[in-house]
Amino acid sequence: MEQVDKETSAREELTLSLGPQHPATHGVLKLVLELEGETVAKCTPHVGYLHRGVEKLGENRTYLSALPLTDRLDYVASMSYNVGYVVAVERLLGVEPPERAKFIRTMVSEMARISSHLLWLATHALDIGAMTVFLYAFREREWINDLFEMLCGARLTVSYPRIGGVRNDVSQEFLDSLWKFTEEFPGRLLEYETLIDQNRIWLKRTIGIGVVSAEDAANLGLTGPMIRGSGVPYDLRKFAPYDAYDQVEFDVPTGTNGDTYDRYRVRMEEFRQSNGIVRQCIEKLPPGPVMAPDAPKFTLPPKEKVMEDMEALIHHFVLVTKGPITAPEGETYSAIEAPKGELGFFFISDGSGTPYRMRIRTPSYVHALALPYLTEGSFVADVIAVIGTADLVLGEVDR
């Protein structure tokens, strides 16, 4: 015993197991830190505590009924993940949604981005020690959840988009209250900035912490605000527009130093851009159908028609029980810009109603694996700041 003590005190090394139940790890992430004094010498992320096998489940569900599984990937921005899934399936099946559905989807995925960034701001600030922002940010997040509830009847796990469109049309009440939200939200953003933007503790905890250069960010595979904070204007909404992103105007904010503070500034600016996109979508929302009218083999027919039209009845029964069995064979990779980064869906189709393989490229997984790079050499307290700035959601890390 004495000998062991001597050895450890001579090396002054300590292995610290952070998580999986640590509140600052935002879920069930376990980090094994090897410390030299208070400096992190080695960081090993352990993931998999929340593994549910979503990819495998997707291979056993039809394209239609695998949609609610994607809600559970990133449960704070489930709308973006639904949109990513249906955009990928539409590209595989060759379905073109109508204009109105495209605008609605763009609108709701930007709402999801605001909601996700609000949760990030709240918990990130809370981890670093600024509790007040948490309460302010959740006030607005509650408003967005109420809007989602008004739109589709669910607050978090929305399952709102559908292959070839969206589930139901938006109501006038929803549009009006969303417009009211976009009018008030910039003022609320100023409140958050009053609280932390210049706060000396916040600046000390974020500036120069978790620095990643543009080249390293690209090599690590970082996407979303993580790479934009390093000054790379990589945004799939600009580079590979989907839905109605090519019809709205927005900027891609970037940072310069690639530290935690820059990523904070990038996300704060994204709030404003997303707010602007939502406003443009409301203004430009065209009238028309919200479900692709020319794809009866991939979209469910209207309910009135099912019991009257023989063909519609057959399509309905086949779609529900076997899925879109006329799906073309082949493979497709389709990526969208989720709030946390590039969300990709890779499908291999064998021509049946279920995918042969469904692979999901989630941003948080890549960001979790970049944690050793970001934390090694820094203090233990900064590990918490880095976990916060990476905006990890363990639901999508483990899938």
Partner: protein, 189 residues
């Protein structure tokens, strides 16, 4: 080390600004809700506990035991055992739904060709036993009578489960941006 920086460092200006905001929030109306005392009304079309639609003309369930809801269910929580009555009409002898497995995606409502299953706005259902969450046909029909009777049930399928697709003909009543129109009327007045 400019003068401005010195003033900021010594007099804690940014902290005082934030404290002023906190004080403003302290004296304004709270946004929190004292939940159990002040219950929250769910929005229309909320995806809460299920109900089987009771046909007002026959007094029985509308369900024809086709099994589509069970087929599309991603959680595989609906179990149907069908039978035939004396007229040769197929019906669900047992219609069972495990609420603890259900993920409330409402795909069953969309899949049903006759509109026989609905989701009510009821969301407060905690209990002490698992059996209370295993819904049988009788329980689900009772849910319809309790939460969706009258006008609410009649309008339910028209309002929330009507994907406007190839039958789309009329544009009137569709939600559009009217912010500018509202501004114009405000300016005129």
């Amino acid at each position: 080390m400019t003068f401005k920086y010195l003033v900021k460092t010594v007099f804690l200006t940014e902290i005082l600004k934030a404290m002023a905001l906190t004080f403003k929030a302290f004296i304004s109306k709270p946004v929190t809700r004292q939940y159990p005392e002040e219950p929250r009304e769910a929005m229309p079309g909320f995806r809460g506990m299920h109900a089987l639609v009771r046909d007002s003309s026959t007094g029985r369930e509308k369900c024809i035991a086709c099994g589509l809801c069970g087929a599309i269910c991603p959680a595989r929580c609906i179990h149907i055992y069908s039978d035939e009555d004396e007229d040769g009409r197929k019906f669900a002898k047992r219609y069972e739904l495990d609420l603890l497995r259900c993920i409330y995606c409402s795909l069953c409502v969309e899949a049903c060709p006759v509109g026989a299953i609905a989701m009510t706005e009821h969301y407060e259902y905690s209990d002490y036993s698992r059996d209370a969450f295993y819904m049988t046909k009788e329980k689900l029909l009772a849910n319809w009578d309790k939460y969706m009777s009258g006008k609410k049930g009649q309008e339910y399928f028209k309002k929330f489960y009507h994907p406007l697709a190839d039958d789309f003909a009329e544009y009137e009543g569709q939600a559009l941006f009217r912010g500018k129109a509202a501004e114009r009327t405000r300016d005129a007045a």
